[in-house]
Symmetry: C2
């Protein structure tokens, strides 16, 4: 299998992407890695490459400040867009990027393209949970507004992803909402609820945002706006509380002693570290697109390759495509 | 001035409501308190009442499990509905209830009634912030869906409330959104942004949910669904993190010592306690309606009276009404 890596995307690119790609290539000799980006810079960093890594030159870079859709349309020789083209043309089965999120969503939609039958690809990161398992949440920002039918598509794609990539036999699906009763919610969730009951997924019902860290669900669906509010509020609250804690632990000699005593116990908070939960798939694109965190280090890039391998080995894209094209198969 | 208290509403009613009402009556002899509820029970609890407290009998109670709108329509002699009627009829200028939130919203809308010109009353609690000032957020659940025009009405009402009740000369208004740029957001926020720029408020722009605890804004506007996701995620995240901390501080003798050392520093978290931030006004009703937290104790009820007094003394309702009926005044 062949995996394209956007060598120029992310805060630590191309150093981290090149190092991660080489580590992955060494660990999985059956996998061919295509490093897409500035050939001279990559060669200078990498020295001699393993035989299963090759460089595909791209002369441009989409930066963090670039306006996403415009950048994808104009920078046709950027590492991200070229990686997307390799997937579209079947040169690679997957692409991984730690670059501009909005541009990657646009690359997925405009360059890689949608699976027939899917209206909108959705970004699906894992939200860490108390039990350490995490919950796949979609859509987390690819589409701000959604229809009830879109939420059903998200549920089906999320269910297949959890099954194929994480081996969960019958993923439990929840609808992000303001109460647990079926009749609760806004127009979107009230209309989505009965559709989800009829959908080919194991729908458990509504999940309140207050319970998200304790949820038993494997997948949560929501529109991109609500999903963004959820995720960013979690990040903000955790960051603020941990900031206060750190400050208080540093106040005096005695509190520093207290910090030492508490250190092993506070390691429990590590399970809330997004880095432990891998890259976020963009589900619904006709070829695997993985979004790695902007601050990804080499280890995160290597883990992205691991994740892509599992998805490809288990025919993720084919499974989603089949589910959404049952009608046409039967014609 | 006269303030009606729903004596039967809340987890600790009628004990906490009666005790709080009496304490308030003693502190503010110029204020008449009307305790609405089961006369016999209130009398048994209260003994002899101060001269500025009287009981208004109501034979029914709306419970936490009652379906809000149905309960308000059917239980016409419930303490909550009767308190609402007292406000509507001018017998009282304000009502305070710690009872069923949904039913109180319905009481505000159906019994007390709207200020002419306002489409939908909005629930406006304070969200605690890092600097201890807090931010008034509306709508937090009265109306799940909202139009851009509704968000503008929320902004105006929130601005007047912060001015009249908290003495802020020029309250800063923010729009809850997924990014800081004007063009960000869903259909609702993208359309609300230019309207807020034109509105008679001091609009600062978008506020991301990740920054809510650090915001410099005095008021944040959002639809009820997004607001609920925001508030409940904050509560859930804080609860989960504090739960882990407590567990880790209790693990051993040494960690218990660490907890003792840290106790003064961790008091900083108290500013995130909703109880310190008072009752939430339902803004847009033609008469003051205050929602006290369900778990309110006597002190919280007394603080509710303090809050109502300030709002009434500063002509909150008249100010909102005037702002929304400028056109008709000029006719």
């Amino acid at each position: 299998m062949r995996i394209a890596i956007d060598a120029m995307g992310g805060d630590h690119a191309p150093e981290a992407t090149v190092e991660g790609a080489i580590a992955a290539a060494k660990e999985w000799p059956d996998t061919e890695i295509i490093l897409v980006g500035d050939q001279a810079r990559i060669e200078a960093l990498a020295g001699s490459l393993p035989s299963n890594v090759r460089i595909h030159h791209a002369s441009e870079v989409i930066g963090a400040e670039d306006e996403p859709v415009k950048a994808v349309r104009r920078k046709k020789d950027s590492s991200m867009v070229v990686a997307g083209k390799l997937v579209r043309e079947g040169e690679a089965q997957a692409m991984i990027s730690a670059g501009n999120s909005g541009a990657l969503l646009a690359t997925g939609l405009l360059v890689v393209g949608r699976i027939p039958g899917i209206d909108r690809p959705a970004l699906a990161p894992m939200i860490p949970t108390m039990d350490g398992r995490g919950v796949l949440a979609l859509d987390l920002g690819a589409n701000m507004d959604a229809s009830p039918e879109h939420l059903v598509q998200y549920a089906i794609m999320g269910s297949i992803y959890r099954n194929k990539v994480h081996g969960i036999a019958k993923p439990k699906i929840g609808l992000l909402n303001v109460g647990t009763e079926a009749a609760k919610g806004n127009e979107l969730t009230k209309h989505a609820y009965p559709l989800l009951e009829e959908a080919p997924v194991h729908f458990l019902g509504n999940v309140e945002s207050r319970d998200i860290l304790q949820t038993e669900c494997d997948v949560i669906v929501c529109d991109g706006f609500a999903g963004n509010i959820l995720l960013k509020t979690l990040e903000g609250a955790a960051g603020t509380i941990m900031g206060i804690l750190k400050k208080q632990f540093k106040r005096s000699f005695m509190t520093k002693m207290a910090a030492l005593i508490m250190k092993p116990g506070l390691a429990e908070f590590k399970k809330f570290d997004y880095k432990e939960h891998g890259a976020a798939p963009l589900l619904g694109t006709n070829g695997l697109v993985l979004k790695s965190h902007g601050s990804s280090d080499a280890k995160a890039i290597k883990n992205g390759v691991r994740q892509a391998r599992i998805a490809l080995q288990n025919n993720l894209i084919e499974s989603i495509s089949k589910e959404f094209n049952r009608g046409s198969d039967n014609k």
